[in-house]
């Protein structure tokens, strides 16, 4: 019996949207105020959805403590109160929230073994959110 479990986390980070392949004018036209050379920041809400069979003994898809420990060590401690542009994931890649979703998904997908990573959802502001499911269709 497959079930889905979503856990919500928070982190705060700064970024600057700037593409080295574009001229200053193109960067300004594409990214607007997000191209401010000094960067700006957000309180990001991160939702991690895992999927798997409900264990007959524990009644769990996976132990939340294991998920929390992995996310804390591999995502939050690396991203919280950091400038995303300085991280290795964003060398040569613009730290849009689209790319942030993909980067977080890949870290979890490669490293977290107790359950399958179904989807990553990131809220950049209360009006914007982004979802990535490893290229699969996002379930309603």
């Amino acid at each position: 019996m497959k079930a889905y479990l979503t856990r919500r986390y928070w982190f705060s980070a700064s970024h600057r949207l700037h593409c080295e392949d574009m001229t200053a004018e193109e960067n300004q036209a594409v990214y607007g105020k997000c191209n401010n050379r000094w960067g700006h920041g957000h309180n990001y809400a991160l939702e991690v959805t895992v999927a798997g069979a409900v264990d007959a003994k524990t009644g769990m898809v996976c132990n939340l403590a294991d998920l929390d420990e992995f996310v804390n060590q591999n995502i939050l401690e690396r991203l919280d109160h950091q400038n995303l542009n300085t991280l290795r994931e964003f060398q040569g890649i613009v730290p849009t929230t689209e790319n942030l979703c993909v980067a977080v998904y890949n870290i979890l997908d490669r490293g977290f073994t107790p359950a399958q990573i179904e989807k990553i959802r990131v809220e950049e502001t209360m009006f914007n959110s982004f979802e990535y499911a490893g290229g699969r269709e996002v379930r309603p």
Partner: protein, 136 residues
């Protein structure tokens, strides 16, 4: 494939009435929503588009353009309107949240070029919402 959701709010009035029903049927089926003077809601709209991330910009599409499109095609048209009286399709169609979500989908889908519309989610109140994914 990345999915991007943008949220917005608008306020509008409506009432539910089907001229093919008797007055009693209208009252029984639609309850207090049948009041012909209308009533209103603060609607919350979530528009989700999907597409590949552009290699250079890192965007699925420019959020500013999505916001402008949504404002022009939906919010500016519906906000602070009496849907039954002022919006063409609702002169004949009952402006339920279901029909309103479908109408919003139709207003947006053909205007999107870079990314594809995936879902329209419309909250009538914080406890009630409708999802429409088109007729795939």
């Amino acid at each position: 494939m990345v999915y991007l959701t943008r949220k917005a709010e608008f306020s509008a009035a409506h009432y539910y009435h089907n001229p093919e029903f008797t007055a009693e049927e209208n009252r029984r089926i639609f309850g207090k929503c049948n009041n012909p003077h209308g009533h209103g809601h603060n609607y919350t709209l979530e528009v989700t588009v999907k597409g590949e991330v552009d290699q250079r910009s890192g965007f699925v599409l420019d959020l500013k353009q999505l916001k402008e499109l949504k404002n022009r095609e939906v919010i500016d048209v519906l906000d602070h309107r009496f849907l039954n009286q002022e919006i063409a399709e609702f002169k004949t169609l009952i402006p339920t949240t279901e029909n309103l979500a479908i109408s919003i989908w139709q207003r947006l889908e053909s205007k999107l070029s870079v990314a594809r519309l995936h879902r329209v989610r419309l909250y009538e109140t914080p406890d009630l919402f409708v999802d429409y994914f088109g007729e795939a």
